[in-house]
């Protein structure tokens, strides 16, 4: 087609380059939204069939961010694979590390010292806050409230700074490892968390003032993208999306891991199943996270922060100058890593987006035989067509933001 013909075609059909096809008789247009689109939160492509502004069909097409991380894990030793899983759902990096480390802990059949467990919960709850802050910002932005994005990212930055203080990195930390955590909390961690807690309880009030009773926001989210309880159950929804549709399910309470059985917190459940209900559930969850963090800071025990078994943990640097055995252990752990007994295990934690599972198989060697991560975004994204079909394109934007899919986790 020459450019003149192309212009002719555009003038005749009146549509742009993203349109796949147009059926003039039925007045149906099929077009691509994404994979590069500001409202699809990453590289999600939606094949839409539109009747005017109404979505008649919606087919998510994924895989644009697939980098073969599960295969990659099979090439690393057990310790190194932590650095791969942390890059999957990059906004919930500590949840990813936690679920993989818990799976390996169970295969190794080892104990994690209490302080290590508390630190794991501390980091993953702060992570839940920062992940929900990104969701808050993008949900607001997609609804036209740009200031929400700035507020959300401003507070997330404080938590990222704390991550950097503890782990040395802002994202992709690789901090939670089989046996505990890599390093103890640094001096001054307690005032830092206290200041985050004081700041956040004030700031959540501000977020609520900005959106919760905002007439434009209410108009665009109430009754929009309704997911019924039956649909949510059938399509395997979990996390805030399930809880906004009336499914009372939270792994922190129902299958407690680490120290969650010692902590008290509420699990918010609503029945409306619309975008606004998902908004409310996440806002309450942020307050609940603050409650959990309060208890974690107060209850933080002393002692070891990781399992000190010399066959699992490299000896301290000072030992290397004195002990030949320490040098040998260090060398073996650094070059080939530890072996894990043959077996299989499925571990699950409640990530900010829902049930994050890790199915791990060991063949008895120094590398995993198979690591499969059941990512909540992957399952939750299947809810997009039932929630979006019959609504307007503008509502579709609200629905995507409320599902909060992270494409790094979906595609892995």
């Amino acid at each position: 087609m020459t450019s003149a013909q192309a212009i002719d075609k555009l003038e005749r059909d009146g549509h742009g380059a993203y349109v796949e096809s147009y059926d003039p008789d039925a007045q149906r247009m099929t077009l691509n939204m994404g994979p590069v689109h500001p409202a699809t939160h990453g590289v999600l492509r939606l094949l839409l069939e539109l009747d005017g502004e109404t979505v008649m069909k919606c087919e998510p097409i994924i895989g644009y961010l697939h980098t073969g991380m599960e295969k990659e894990c099979e090439d690393q030793n057990w310790r190194q694979a932590v650095t791969i899983v942390t890059r999957m759902d990059y906004l919930a990096q500590f949840s990813n590390e936690l679920v993989y480390s818990r799976a390996v802990d169970r295969l190794l059949d080892i104990d994690v010292p209490p302080r290590g467990r508390y630190i794991r919960v501390l980091m993953s709850e702060l992570n839940r806050l920062s992940s929900h802050l990104v969701w808050y910002g993008t949900q607001g932005l997609d609804m036209g409230a740009m200031s929400a994005l700035f507020y959300g990212f401003r507070e997330r930055e404080v938590i990222q700074d704390f991550n950097e203080m503890v782990t040395g990195l802002r994202m992709n930390n690789g901090y939670i490892i089989p046996g505990g955590v890599w390093e103890d909390l640094p001096d001054g961690w307690e005032p830092a968390v206290e200041s985050i807690l004081a700041l956040m309880s004030r700031r959540i009030e501000e977020y609520e003032e900005l959106l919760t009773f905002n007439p434009v926001f209410l108009e665009r989210t109430r009754g929009v993208g309704v997911i019924s309880k039956e649909v949510a159950l059938a399509l395997g929804a979990s996390g805030p999306i399930a809880r906004a549709s009336g499914i009372d399910l939270d792994l922190r309470r129902d299958a407690p891991y680490e120290v969650y059985d010692k902590l008290t917190f509420d699990v918010p459940t609503l029945t409306e199943g619309d975008v606004y209900a998902r908004y409310q559930v996440r806002m309450i969850e942020m307050r609940e996270s603050l409650k959990i963090l309060r208890q974690v800071v107060d209850g933080m025990p002393g002692g070891d922060y990781k399992n000190m078994d010399p066959k699992l943990t490299p000896p301290p640097r000072s030992e290397l100058n004195r002990s030949m055995e320490a040098v040998i252990h260090h060398f073996k752990l650094m070059t080939q890593g530890y072996t894990v007994p043959e077996g299989e295990v499925y571990e699950a934690v409640e990530s900010p987006r829902g049930e994050l599972g890790c199915y791990t198989v060991s063949s008895g060697g120094t590398a995993p035989h198979r690591v499969h991560v059941r990512d909540p975004s992957f399952a939750n994204l299947q809810l997009l067509p039932p929630a979006a079909i019959g609504g307007l394109v503008a509502d579709l934007i609200a629905v995507i933001a409320s599902l909060d899919p992270i494409m790094g986790g979906v595609d892995r």
Binding site: G63, G357, S363
Partner: protein
């Protein structure tokens, strides 16, 4: 972990029973058991959860070539994408699936990436010889090869000398070889 095994032939019936008992599917993935144990090679591993009875795991042994398992997407719609992923990664065919196509890899991809006999790094990367990036004005050619052509330090004839800058105080010795 509570694990069970079932052959592909009995799978759909078993899945229906599980659903009637109140179990719901949370995860469903492929597994290549090559080198893991004797017997069957391809399996699909399903994880179930129950409101009161906790969690259980069921291995479904694939039969035939290509490995085949009946689809349970009609029983649990959430299995739809999970089966597509297992097909995409292991080439396990789920009979009766509404649209069994690749989901993560491109549609025209050949091979099944997560199989154990599919090594990493088998995709060849094409290197096109490029002249070296010239940052400064071309320096003096450093050496000549046997035929009298000028070559730089890496033996690439005709390419301008790479100049990365010199450390303070090292300026006198950095280009010693070229003088």
């Amino acid at each position: 972990m509570r694990s069970g095994w079932t052959m592909a032939g009995n799978w759909r019936e078993r899945a229906r029973t599980l659903k009637d008992e109140g179990w719901w599917l949370v995860s469903y993935c492929g597994l290549d058991a090559l080198g893991l144990r004797g017997g069957s090679r391809f399996e699909a591993v399903a994880q179930f959860r129950h409101a009161t009875e906790g969690h259980r795991c069921i291995h479904v042994v694939a039969e035939g070539d290509p490995p085949t398992i009946p689809s349970i997407a009609a029983i649990w719609p959430t299995a739809n994408w999970m089966e597509r992923e297992a097909y995409d990664m292991f080439g396990i065919v789920f009979e009766g699936h509404p649209a069994l196509t690749r989901i993560l890899m491109p549609d025209d991809w050949e091979g099944w990436p997560l199989r154990k006999d599919y090594g990493v790094g088998k995709v060849t990367v094409e290197f096109v010889p490029q002249p070296f990036l010239q940052i400064d004005a071309p320096g003096q050619a450093s050496e000549t090869d046997g035929a009298g052509r000028e070559v730089d330090r890496l033996g690439q004839s005709g390419a301008p000398e790479r100049h990365w800058g010199t450390a303070p105080g090292a300026a006198d010795t950095a280009h010693e070889g070229s003088k």
